[in-house]
């Protein structure tokens, strides 16, 4: 009798302990792990760059996602969660619908996208009604967060306007208020120039003149070398009204990298060359960032790019949501990400959160000169009633986004 009672008590105790263990210490549980499958859809083509140093590595972007998967799986080991990544590449101008449907068919509910804006919208449309959640890791177009925003696309990449504002705040802090704006002849260049003009207007800088650098085609590297460039750039930059800084909008990598040290007047260059606003840089080591840089280097034997970081952040957001919501269900996790509790630690000195009106990740913007981080915006003194990070980019009162 006594034995029976004891064993019953022991059973109850064991049951309670079991429940506790199950609740609190998932690694000890023997249950089937929750598997969270993530897709990564990137571009098949690589961007042409002026500098060899900027030439994108084959695994640009997806490498960041892979590192985040390792980080997620280390955490998942303790929570009985497992993360898998599948990668696909699509050619520019093709329809990504089939790829998205294939990924969905294989049980993938989270898709990280590094695609041009129109292709991204097609990919997201393909997922409509299938409960997919997309993370935009590559496209900086403001319109994706404004008139083309969607309730199932979270934007991890900063926008052109965030990048432009981050740069403008620093130039204004330096009192370099007179800008010579040089714009490339491609659509992306014009969009960046528009963001820079908006930034100048917001923060009190003045564009003394705007010039267009026509892309006449041609190779970035030639056997005849740099002789002509040394003559062309001074000619192109001469005769401008007095200016403090040359600001270049050249996302297409046609000319901006040739500007520093070659301008007619001795002036610093910023924008697409010189002092560049970006979400990440290989030189960034503050706020524990060198730990991430070290992990990345160990895994891939190369330095981490901004696209790698954007993909890392996207995959870490998925990991955070799974850990915090204790779930692998896409909609439960999406609800967590959209909720007030979500915060991402991403080595930027403060938490990154989502703008609830358009699902853009708030983030500081690094200003890099290729060797060091010169500064990090928002700059001191640019105040905001809600978050100083909202001094970067299009703010709630100006948004055209209606999430649906």
């Amino acid at each position: 009798m006594i034995r029976e009672q004891t064993s019953r008590q022991a059973l109850i105790r064991a049951g309670l302990t079991g429940a506790l263990v199950w609740l609190l210490a998932a690694p000890l549980a023997k249950a089937q792990p929750i598997t969270i499958k993530i897709g990564y859809v990137g571009r098949a083509e690589k961007k042409t760059t002026i500098s060899l140093l900027d030439y994108p590595p084959d695994n640009d972007g997806v490498a960041g996602a892979r590192l985040a998967l390792e980080d997620n799986n280390t955490t998942g080991k303790f929570l009985n969660q497992r993360f898998l990544l599948e990668e696909a590449r699509v050619k520019e101008g093709t329809d990504p619908t089939d790829i998205v449907l294939q990924l969905a068919g294989r049980g993938i509910s989270f898709v990280i996208l590094d695609l041009p804006a129109d292709m991204l919208l097609k990919a997201a449309e393909a997922g409509r009604g299938r409960g997919l959640v997309f993370f935009n890791a590559g496209a900086i177009d403001d319109r994706l967060r404004e008139e083309d925003c969607r309730a199932d696309v979270i934007h991890v990449a900063p926008t052109r306007s965030m990048l432009a504002d981050g740069l403008a705040q620093y130039l204004v802090f330096k009192r370099w208020l007179r800008w010579l704006l040089v714009v490339g002849s491609h659509e992306a260049d014009r969009l960046f120039a528009a963001a820079l003009r908006r930034a100048a207007g917001r923060f009190g800088a003045r564009i003394v003149e705007q010039r267009v650098f026509e892309d006449t085609g041609g190779a970035r590297r030639t056997d005849s070398g740099l002789v002509q460039i040394q003559r062309q750039i001074p000619l192109f930059t001469q005769g401008a009204p007095a200016y403090d800084v040359l600001v270049a909008a050249d996302e297409s990598e046609v000319f901006a990298t040739y500007l520093p040290y070659r301008t007619r007047d001795a002036r610093p260059v910023a924008g697409s060359a010189g002092l560049i606003p970006k979400s990440w840089d290989a030189a960034h080591d503050q706020w524990g960032a060198n730990q991430l840089q070290n992990r990345f280097m160990q895994l891939f034997s190369r330095r981490m790019t901004a696209l790698d970081m954007q993909a890392w952040s996207a995959a870490r957001m998925i990991g955070e949501a799974a850990a915090r919501a204790a779930s692998g269900d896409a909609q439960t996790m999406l609800a967590y990400l959209k909720g007030p509790e979500f915060a991402l630690a991403a080595f930027k000195g403060q938490k990154l959160t989502l703008r609830d009106w358009n699902l853009q990740l708030r983030q500081p913007i690094l200003l890099a000169d290729g060797r060091t981080i010169v500064s990090v915006s928002p700059q001191e003194g640019f105040l905001h009633q809600f978050s100083e990070l909202d001094t970067l980019g299009i703010d709630r009162p100006e948004t055209k986004c209606r999430l649906k």
């Binding site: 506790l20 609190l24 210490a25 998932a26 690694p27 980080d71 280390t74 955490t75 303790f78 929570l79 524990g288 730990q291 070290n294 992990r295 870490r316 955070e320 850990a323 915090r324 915060a343 991402l344 630690a345 000195g349 403060q350 938490k351 978050s387 100083e388 990070l389």
Partner: protein, 328 residues
């Protein structure tokens, strides 16, 4: 003259009972790690002055004094080791074999073992201090940082900054026995002296989680609302607690404040304005003063614990990070 007085007092303490001293503050040595200068500033807490500077390795951060008071241990992360400073000579005399990029560590109640968080390889290293030997490693989450040991020495808690957990490690078996999720980027873990609570600060989450060490659940969360300060600037890091567990102190990083917490109710009682980017703290053994390291303003604030007032500021080296205070 003042210095001589202090030494004379210490002599008395050595021979007689401290009670004989009355209300005169006892002088201790505070050792402050200057992350940028690669030095340790030695402060005489009675005089509130830097009385010595010790050159150490690259990027000194975590700092503690051995139980026998013979050595100051300092983690020099970029040299991947822990240096031992002889407290008699103020010179680096030896090193301990940590893993890569050691940051914070704690010793066991006997003073024999040292548990070290190695930020760079997701492990906690166990070191025999006497033999200067590495006894083993425990695999933990991504970017281990905070280290707290239960008063009985049986449970070691490590926090991992990217995994966002407090890992409970059985020090006998060296196995993880539980993991508690806390808010983003947990940086510091401290048990109350009676072992009833474990406090874990989350730098990015902006909170301190109060964990029940037996049930291993977060029983309450301390939030900090500094009037006129944006939420992102509130980044809790270092924690200190009085022996009776009645008062806790939390360093709020770029909010430039120390929060004073009621140890029983977990309510914030007061914010004390200190220097810029306050990292860590240490109480003098008599608990009369609390010293804080202010990373950006290159100084140490001295807080009168009874009055809850900042009473002094001491200039130290560049980017002070950690602080440890001798028992005598």
């Amino acid at each position: 003259m003042k210095l001589r007085m202090a030494m004379w007092q210490r002599l008395i303490i050595g021979i007689c009972l401290p009670v004989a001293l009355g209300s005169e503050a006892t002088a201790y040595k505070a050792y402050v790690s200057n992350e940028k200068s690669n030095t340790i500033s030695v402060i005489d807490t009675g005089e509130r002055k830097v009385v010595g500077t010790i050159k150490v390795g690259q990027r000194p951060r975590g700092i503690a004094i051995t139980k026998d008071q013979k050595y100051v241990l300092v983690a020099v992360g970029d040299d991947d080791t822990i240096q031992m400073i002889d407290t008699a000579s103020n010179k680096v005399v030896d090193t301990l074999p940590s893993g890569p990029d050691p940051e914070l560590f704690t010793d066991d109640p006997s003073g024999r073992l040292l548990y070290v968080a190695n930020e760079n390889d997701n492990t906690v290293t166990i070191i025999d201090i006497e033999r200067r030997a590495r006894l083993g490693d425990v695999e933990v989450g991504v970017e281990p940082e905070g280290m707290g040991l239960s008063p009985d020495g049986k449970i070691l808690v490590n926090t991992s900054e990217t995994t966002n957990m407090a890992h409970f490690i059985d020090t006998d078996t060296r196995q993880i026995v539980a993991n508690v999720l806390v808010d983003s980027r947990p940086r510091f873990a401290l048990f109350k002296d009676d072992g009833s609570e474990l406090w874990v600060s989350s730098e990015i989450g902006g909170t301190v989680s109060v964990i029940d060490p037996l049930k291993r659940v977060v029983k309450s969360k301390i939030n900090f609302a500094v009037p006129g300060m944006r939420q992102e600037a509130i980044q809790p890091v270092g924690i200190a607690m009085t022996h009776d567990g009645k008062t806790g102190f939390v360093a709020l990083g770029p909010a430039n404040r120390i929060a004073v917490i009621d140890g029983a109710t977990h309510q914030v009682q007061k914010f004390l304005l200190v220097g810029q980017r306050v990292w860590h703290m240490a109480l003098t053994p008599d608990e009369k003063y609390l010293l804080t390291t202010n990373g950006v303003s290159n100084d140490v604030s001295v807080i009168d614990v009874a009055a809850l007032k900042v009473v002094d500021t001491i200039q130290v080296g560049e980017l002070p990070w950690g602080v440890a205070i001798s028992q005598r």
